[in-house]
């Protein structure tokens, strides 16, 4: 009788906290090592490149503050879409909802002249949340009524929203004194978020953290959160248990999209201070990635957004070494791929097994 030893993947019954932390860290290091290979081939010193990258993103008070600036909209949009992902509703429309939110906030700020900053910002927040939420209801209603795949409609609606913005800033909302460049008027001071610590970090950070904590509480500590997770885990079971799936789809999509809209609002009110094309480059599309990497955990999304922000900030910094932008994107991409693929080891473990092969 012979035995054959082999390795196989086995689902973890429980996931220890150490694993949750170690897997992404090891994945990041693996991504760096993988990229190092290509850096060496192209004649760069990986150690120098990585030290400049980390230094640019985390090594100084200024770099750190800029990483946080970058993290704020990423955190809000990823927390938003992660909320829908929890219920297995694939809100891929974060980018479009972000644009709608930004447009709504812009409209409010430019039309509420003479109000105090608190009132203006509160109104912009509500407008962004509600308008983006309603925009998110479109795929939700289509799904509930006619079982239209929300992934497709969400992606399509992204284009609708970005073209709507393009039309607004080239047409009716164009800055009359802006030499006809396609962008809106600059916001009055009352429409700008307050900055903190003499940096560009703005109060959007607090809005984002508050949203993340509230969603974490809702998901893990409330009955409604339990229902959402139940629908996500097994929709039929939820139905048998008397949970209204359709009502939850509409509600969760509204909130998820509304939060994505708030990401747009904090970016225009906190950073660009006007609506212009490309104001949210790299943000909209990164929301889903971050939500996935954070395994849809709201607080995890905050952490991942911080690292993601650092990756983007540090990526810009290393270009000054003379590295072509494609190399930078290669490093960023390989780190993401390693982290995404490595996530498997959070849920599965490698076990060694023996199998008896039949009689000779």
């Amino acid at each position: 009788m012979r035995k054959k030893r082999y390795f196989t993947l086995e689902k973890r019954l429980s996931i220890p906290f150490g694993i949750k932390l170690a897997v992404p860290l090891v994945s990041i290091v693996a991504g760096f090592l993988f990229s190092a290979f290509f850096l060496v081939i192209s004649g760069e010193s990986p150690l120098e490149v990585y030290s400049v990258m980390l230094d640019g993103a985390f090594g100084s008070a200024y770099g750190l503050s800029e990483t946080v600036v970058k993290m704020i909209p990423l955190m809000i949009i990823s927390v938003g879409v992660a909320f829908a992902f929890k219920m297995q509703i694939w809100n891929a429309g974060g980018e479009g909802q972000l644009h709608i939110g930004a447009a709504a906030a812009t409209y409010v700020v430019l039309h509420l002249n003479g109000c105090s900053r608190f009132v203006t910002i509160l109104a912009a927040f509500l407008a962004a949340f509600i308008c983006a939420g309603i925009y998110g209801l479109i795929p939700a209603i289509l799904k509930v009524k006619w079982k239209v795949n929300e992934l497709i409609t969400c992606l399509m609606l992204n284009y609708v929203a970005t073209f709507l913005i393009a039309w607004l800033i080239q047409g009716p909302w164009k800055d009359p004194s802006g030499f006809a460049f396609p962008r809106t008027r600059k916001f009055p001071a009352s429409g700008e978020l307050t900055t903190l610590f003499d940096t560009r970090i703005h109060t959007g950070l607090l809005i984002g953290l508050a949203i993340a904590v509230i969603l974490w509480f809702v998901i893990s500590k409330t009955r409604w959160g339990y229902e959402i997770k139940l629908i996500g885990a097994k929709e039929k079971v939820a139905r048998y248990a008397g949970v209204s799936v359709n009502r939850n789809i509409l509600l969760v999509m509204f909130i998820s999209a509304g939060i994505a809209g708030v990401a747009g609002m904090v970016e225009v009110c906190g950073i660009t201070h006007r609506l212009q094309a490309n104001f949210a480059a790299q943000i909209g599309s990164s929301g889903m990635t971050i939500a996935y990497l954070a395994q849809c955990h709201p607080l995890g999304a905050v952490l991942v957004s911080f690292l993601f922000g650092g990756l983007l900030v540090g990526g810009n910094t290393i270009q000054k070494l003379g590295l072509p932008v494609s190399t930078v994107q290669m490093i960023q991409g390989s780190i993401l791929i390693f982290v995404a693929a490595g996530a498997m080891f959070t849920n599965y473990k490698i076990v060694r097994k023996e199998r008896r092969l039949g009689h000779d």
């Binding site: 290091v29 030290s51 008070a61 393009a166 030499f179 480059a281 790299q282 810009n316 473990k349």
Partner: protein
């Protein structure tokens, strides 16, 4: 398994510590570089910020060419570049980092940067800012742009002479005054060369969107255009024209590599010599921020080498136009009517620079399908 993870974790932590520890001095607060010494032989550091990826964007390439020109022709100059920085949160950071690193000159390449550059120019009076496009300036901030209609006028003459179908395609970016001004400059040339030719215009709604641009080019060719001119930054239209055997006129830089047999010429913009002057002005402390509209006599506007397809008599016509432009010929000289029949420039008058930079109307030979007709 746990041990393995613990070891890997420790390695990861050590690695990241080692990496962050590598660089000791970190600039904590933004400080302006000491230009007080004003040693005329000092090394001047210049930081370039590009909104696009240079290798895929012709407009960015014009400023990259200027950077290379500085590297080659200026003494004691060090240049740096960062690409793919969209207007928004990123450009201000990249510029501040440059200033921290001791850059005396910051060169931007996008009108999206204007707000941030103006604010930084105010905060760092010792740093010089130069932006490609835009209108706002400061004492220490200049804008460079060219009288682009001059180049377009020359290619318009060429196109009017070369088209057989009397239908010329023109793919442009976003219908705001600057691209409209270029389109109309082109239209003046076409009208003078060939009163029967019309210009069918499509807007890609972006400066660099290869997919949409290719669709636009194919549409125009399907409609019967036998020559396509672009005011865009990608090479998509060049490639479509090459594969479908349709004449092509490039923009910003020579695009011959993408349409080796079909490119007749290209409108090229050159900033290098002007920028070298600005660097020397900064070196001598004589820099004055202003809005600089460079023209054909500044060497900013030129055409790429003609292809063999362009016959000698057409070359002569264009050469004559170039001579006239150098002698002060104005492209937008009256009488000029728009495509609704309204008189826009009276006989004997010339469109002012301000009005040219606010152009929201089209010449009569422009067929424009933009749904939202510009109003004035």
């Amino acid at each position: 398994m746990k041990k393995l993870i613990a070891v890997l974790l420790a390695v990861a932590v050590l690695c990241s510590l080692a990496l962050t520890g590598c660089k000791s001095e970190t600039p904590d607060s933004p400080e302006s570089p000491s230009a007080s010494g004003k040693d005329p032989n000092r090394v001047i550091k210049i930081g370039f910020v590009f909104s696009a990826i240079i290798s895929t964007d012709a407009w960015a390439q014009t400023s990259e060419n200027a950077r290379l020109y500085l590297e080659e022709h200026c003494e004691n100059v060090e240049t740096y570049k960062v690409e793919n920085i969209a207007g928004g949160a990123d450009c201000e950071r990249v510029m501040r980092e440059y200033i921290n690193d001791g850059c005396e000159i910051i060169v931007g390449t996008s009108f999206d940067y204007v707000d941030y550059m103006l604010a930084l120019a105010d905060e760092f009076p010792d740093v010089t800012f130069i932006n490609g496009s835009g209108y706002e300036t400061a004492e220490n901030m200049s804008v460079y742009i060219a009288k682009l209609e001059q180049g377009r006028y020359m290619t318009g003459l060429l196109a009017g002479n070369m088209t057989k179908a009397n239908k010329i395609g023109y793919v442009s970016s976003i219908p705001f005054p600057d691209p409209i001004k270029q389109l109309n400059g082109f239209a003046v040339g076409v009208a003078q060369a060939n009163p029967d030719a019309e210009i069918v215009t499509l807007w890609a709604n972006s400066f660099n969107d290869p997919t949409t641009e290719a669709v636009c080019a194919n549409t125009l060719i399907d409609q019967g255009c036998d020559l396509i001119c672009i005011d865009l930054s990608s090479s998509a239209v060049a490639q479509v024209c090459e594969s479908r055997g349709v004449m092509f006129i490039g923009s910003s830089v020579d695009m011959r590599e993408f349409a080796p047999t079909q490119q007749l010429t290209a409108n090229c913009w050159t900033w290098g010599p002007w920028m070298a002057e600005q660097v020397e002005a900064v070196r001598n402390g004589t820099f004055v921020g202003k809005w600089c509209e460079l023209d054909i006599n500044d060497g900013a506007i030129s055409l790429a080498e003609f292809s063999d397809k362009v016959p000698q008599e057409v070359r002569d016509i264009v050469a004559d136009a170039e001579k006239r432009l150098r002698e002060g010929y104005e492209v937008f000289a009256g009488p000029l009517y728009d495509n609704t029949g309204k008189l826009r420039v009276k006989e004997g008058e010339v469109l002012s620079t301000e009005d040219a930079n606010a152009m929201q109307w089209f010449l009569p030979n422009v067929i424009d399908n933009w749904a939202d007709k510009p109003v004035d």
